[in-house]
């Protein structure tokens, strides 16, 4: 894995500068059903395709951002 990721603050950087924060999902409301919470906490889509995900620029600006990545070829857009 060696793709470039474009940080909105710092520009294109090597992916090793970032921490992967997982798939972006909407957090349920506090009184949502336990099924919904279970899904949010434990289940992942693991798609072969395009998904929105969180990234943290740990060796740069220390900011989180959302990126759209194609898991098949690691092409990324913001």
């Amino acid at each position: 894995m060696g793709f470039l990721l474009e940080c909105p603050n710092c520009g294109k950087r090597d992916v090793y500068e970032f921490r992967f924060g997982g798939e972006a999902h909407k957090r349920p409301r506090v009184n949502s059903s336990s099924e919904e919470w279970m899904k949010y906490v434990y289940m992942r889509e693991n798609v072969a395709g395009v998904q929105q995900e969180w990234w943290f620029h740990r060796l740069g600006c220390h900011k989180w951002f959302l990126a759209i990545r194609d898991t098949r070829d690691n092409s990324v857009s913001i």
Binding site: F3, Y40, V41, F56, R58
Partner: protein, 991 residues
């Protein structure tokens, strides 16, 4: 002259010799024994592509002798033979070879008449590649000094960037690099040879170059001279980086090129990629085609023209393309007698060269092919045979030509492996009989022999087109001056037009001279010729491939896995095309339909050490570290930090803290600043406790959970102002907590800013009944318990240093955790110890701190909790504030609170003088049931016995419950206590 050792014999070499050229010049002909049949093998490709010369060099196995330069004093050993290369006992297997058909292991060991475990050791002894020497295996770090040292420090990583990366330093690669460089691009040229020029270095020809290429000036010159001139031109350019002796082994996402150069791995990132990787030769398949002194044509040219080695006395040149004519000329120029020139075509592309060969009284056989090579350990003759238009040998036309050298120019395969890794495709061209690039990905360009066209004029122009295209398509170039770009586009058009004209002519020529396909000789009965080698790495013969295909493994991918063809050290460079031909012949599918196997990185073997890089382990030292060393502390690792474990003895240090005063360096604690209007809101959401109501100047303990309700971290939160909080985290966990806080601040869109101030701040904890007396000597801040009560804070100077003072008590005594700018560390530490002399102050280490905190039952997250612990199980229900509308983990904790917990954290005291250890298992009183495990345990000076904490089933969560701790196979009695062992009311803490 250089001297080196080969199998214990002293050898000599010239400067610039490879191991192989030096050995060959000294008369060595057998370089290895084959994988399965232990057949003698000699040099074949002389370019590092075949497996025939793998040797052990200075203890490093599987080094390619034909590309490894001789260094004085190096020790070279042959592999896979016993007792010697010339006389290998195991070659007897070759005589019984017909009992080792394809799929031998599968067929023999699936329903065992022979038990695998009984014969495994024999088979392991017989097969396999080189051995790793004992001293290397144990990695003592005492490797040889030069070059190939195995010590990890000799490996390194390098990062490079380029506008245009050109892979391959042959003529077309050089012109691509020059054109891209002229256009203003920053170019990196990668080549695996010690010098640039590709085949110009060793072809030995006098060049004829058309004026139209723009390089007509080189016409009439010796190819090696042109190679040197071009190399100089490239190296002289300021915007050009030449990486010689460097092999690109993989192309990764976003145009990242992995390059290995000796012990270094270079990560090259380029905007545009030009592939000029060329093509390599492979042997055709006939009986005994693997005999020593059967060479690939270019291998012979390399030996003669690069190393000045005369490879034999009487040669036969076998060819099916014009490069064979060049080899014939190389041999004649070197004074080798040509016994015969054999070409399976009826016409050649360079009749004038053929005429020269005929003039030299060499017998030429057009429309002939080799049926068989003869000889035991060396080739002594070849049997040649006429071929018909279908490529079948014509029975009865056989003739024997005696010789001691055979040159094969029997086909090129484009080196498209790296290109394929970009996602660009290759298709089989029926006319050129090669896989040529098609459907190139954006930013990818190709030129030279890689396109399946072997013509210097075209290669030069293709190179220019590729280099120019790469440059003008750079994003940065669009901004450069109009006029220059316009000019470049013009010349790009001109060259592109010329290239297609020349290519058209080249293809017409190929049509004219096209001969039958005799890559694998077949005729009635040839199945009995079981020594027609397809794969010299794994000893796979033509019959194996036919049989495997016949048995149903007719897909090229399954054929590969079943027969192991293309899976050896050469990774298919020698065998891919012949095996494809055979598969296609048996199945009746075309080559294009059969397709090629996928090749993944690495293209060449790369040492694990090179991939891992230098062993750079980060070490963090506190600002007071060297004072601890001066005091004779025993240092321990805590994550990346180094901390004092103990200075004198736990007893002595413990006594100081409990009875007078002790100081400990706690600079390793994570510290975060949280600022902003919503700082309180953020902390309320992320911690289970409430912090927005915390008064300025107060501290509070807090626990962080995730949305599953699992405890992630704990620490203190101090409010320094309305919009400013100061947080401490567990040592080593600060990066995580920072990311966690920033994430929630981002996701909730809060006005809160988190800064990691850990490295900037030093910290000490001053604790003990005399802590106040000590500190009051150094500060004007009122430390009296009325003015500075437990869990409060102040900012002020201590010993003239600006500090944040927190009145907290991890060790259970009156004490202050003092944070100050890290650069004052040593001064601050010395001042404290000096001022505390009158009270008998002692520095204490981590081990003493652990005893002190355990007596207070203060939890260490990660030690007394695990990946399933929630605050209820950790007996910290008081930290969870359900009155908040929402917080991270609330939903899960609400559910958890309603359920009976599965386990609870309890304290225990061992009976009598029995001892428990961290991780010991806990059983019920009668020993019948396993009920949990010990998380921490130490001897408590206060209790006079061993105490600890354990996660146990909830029925034991009551004062006085009896449990047993299994230690050294004994079930020792213990009694549960729920209160702290020391000062349960916290009177001393608040004093």
């Amino acid at each position: 002259m250089l001297n080196f050792e080969f199998n214990g014999r002293r050898m000599s070499a010239f400067e610039g010799d490879t191991i192989a050229s030096a050995l060959y010049a000294s008369g060595v002909r057998i370089f290895s024994r084959s994988f399965k049949y232990h057949r003698p093998r000699g040099l074949l490709c002389v370019s590092g592509r075949c497996p025939n010369c793998l040797m052990s060099v200075d203890g490093v196995p599987n080094v390619k002798a034909c590309t490894e330069r001789v260094r004085a004093g190096m020790k070279v050993k042959s592999q896979n033979c016993w007792p010697s290369l010339e006389h290998d006992i195991f070659s007897v297997i070759d005589k019984i070879g017909r009992f080792l058909p394809v799929g031998f292991y599968y067929k023999t060991f699936i329903n065992p008449p022979i038990e695998w475990s009984r014969v495994e050791w024999i088979i392991r002894r017989l097969t396999g590649l080189g051995d790793i020497e004992e001293e290397i295996a144990s990695a003592t770090g005492k490797g040889p000094k030069d070059g190939r040292s195995i010590h990890s420090s000799s490996f390194e990583h390098l990062n490079l960037q380029a506008d245009v990366a050109v892979i391959g330093g042959g003529p077309s690669g050089i012109f691509a690099a020059l054109e891209a460089g002229n256009a203003g691009a920053r170019v990196v040229l990668v080549d695996d040879q010690p010098a640039l020029g590709g085949h110009l270095r060793y072809s030995g020809e006098t060049l004829s170059i058309d004026v139209a290429t723009g390089e007509g000036a080189y016409s009439g010159l010796k190819s090696s001279a042109v190679a040197s001139t071009l190399e100089k031109a490239v190296r002289d350019r300021p915007n050009m980086t030449v990486l010689d002796n460097s092999t690109a082994f993989g192309i990764y996402e976003s145009n990242l090129i992995g390059i290995v150069r000796g012990n270094s791995v270079i990560r090259l990132r380029a905007e545009q990629l030009v592939f000029a990787t060329g093509a390599h030769e492979f042997p055709s398949v006939f009986q005994n085609n693997d005999l020593p002194e059967v060479f690939l044509g270019r291998g012979i040219q390399r030996l003669v023209n690069l190393y000045g080695v005369i490879p034999g006395k009487r040669a036969v040149v076998v060819s099916n393309n014009d490069s064979g004519l060049g080899v014939a000329r190389t041999l004649m120029d070197a004074g080798v007698k040509l016994e015969a020139y054999i070409d399976s075509r009826k016409a050649v592309g360079a009749p004038e060269t053929l005429a020269e060969i005929e003039d030299a009284k060499v017998q030429t056989f057009l429309g002939w092919a080799v049926k068989e090579a003869r000889g035991s350990k060396h080739v002594s003759s070849v049997v040649i045979c006429e071929v018909d238009n279908e490529g079948e040998l014509v029975h009865g036309t056989e003739r024997v030509v005696s010789c001691d050298l055979v040159s094969l120019s029997t086909g090129f395969e484009t080196e498209a492996w790296l290109l394929n890794q970009t996602g660009s495709r290759t298709i089989y061209d029926e006319l050129l009989r090669e896989f040529i690039p098609r459907e190139l990905k954006p930013t990818v360009y190709v030129c030279g022999d890689l396109t399946g066209i072997h013509d210097l004029n075209i290669a030069i122009m293709q190179g220019k087109v590729a280099g120019l295209s790469a440059a003008v398509n750079l994003p940065a170039m669009e901004r450069s001056s109009e006029l220059k770009v316009e000019y470049q586009r013009k010349s790009l058009e001109t060259y592109s037009r010329l290239v297609s004209q020349y290519e058209g002519k080249y293809r017409e020529g190929m049509k004219r001279t096209r001969g039958p396909d005799v890559l694998v000789v077949e005729y009635p009965g040839s199945d009995k010729m079981r020594k027609r080698f397809v794969c010299v790495c794994e000893d796979v013969v033509a019959k194996d491939i036919s049989l495997a295909t016949f048995e149903g493994f007719d897909d090229i991918e399954t054929l590969k896995r079943y027969s192991t063809v293309t899976m050896g050290p050469c990774q298919g460079k020698m065998c891919s095309m012949p095996s494809l031909h055979l598969c296609s012949r048996v199945t009746g599918r075309s080559i294009a339909q059969t397709g090629r196997t996928v090749s993944r990185p690495p293209y060449v073997p790369v040492a694990m050490g090179a991939l891992a890089g230098a062993e750079l382990h980060p070490v963090k030292l506190t600002g007071i570290h060297y004072k601890h060393i001066e005091l004779g502390a025993r240092i321990m690792d805590m994550g990346e930090w180094k901390r004092p474990h103990v200075y004198t003895s736990v007893e002595e240090e413990y006594k100081a803290v409990r009875e007078s005063v002790g100081v400990i360096d706690v600079s390793t604690l994570g510290r975060l600043d949280v600022k902003g209007r919503d700082a309180g809101k953020l902390l309320d959401f992320v911690y289970t406790h409430i912090f927005s109501t915390l008064k300025v100047g107060k501290s509070r303990y807090g626990v962080i959970c995730d949305d599953a309700g699992i405890v992630l971290d704990d620490g203190t939160v101090t409010r320094l102002s309305e919009t400013h909080y100061f947080i401490t985290t567990t040592t080593g966990n600060v990066e995580f907590v920072e990311e966690w806080l920033v994430w929630w601040a981002t996701a909730l869109r809060l006005d809160a800013y988190i800064t990691n101030v850990t490295a900037g701040l030093g910290a000490v904890n001053v604790a003990g009944p005399k802590a106040r007396d000590l500190l009051q000597k150094l500060t004007t801040v009122d430390l009296s318990s009325g003015a500075f009560p437990y869990m409060s804070s102040a900012e002020g100077e201590v010993a003239g240093v600006p500090c944040i003072l927190l009145r907290i008590g991890f060790v259970g005594e009156t004490g202050w955790e003092i944070h100050f700018p890290a650069e004052f560390g040593e001064y601050f530490w010395d001042t404290l110890l000096e001022a505390g002399k009158e009270f008998g102050v002692k520095p204490f280490g981590v081990e003493t701190q652990r005893v002190l905190r355990l007596e207070k039952k203060h939890v260490i997250v990660g030690q007394d909790t695990d990946a399933l612990s929630n605050p209820f199980e950790a007996d910290m229900a008081w930290t969870v504030k359900f009155e908040k509308e929402d917080f991270v983990g609330k939903a899960a904790l609400v559910a958890a609170e309603k359920k009976e917990p599965e386990r609870m954290l309890v304290g225990f005291v061992m009976k009598d003088s029995m001892v428990a250890h961290d991780g010991d298992q806990v059983f019920s009183q009668d020993g019948s049931r396993h009920v949990g495990f010990v998380t921490s345990s130490k001897f408590s000076p206060k209790v006079g016995r061993c105490v600890g904490m354990a996660l146990v089933t909830p029925e034991h969560y009551k004062e006085g419950s009896l449990i047993r701790v299994k230690s050294d196979d004994a079930l020792n009695g213990a009694e549960v206590t729920l209160a702290p062992f020391y000062d349960p009311e916290g009177k001393r803490l608040r004093a």
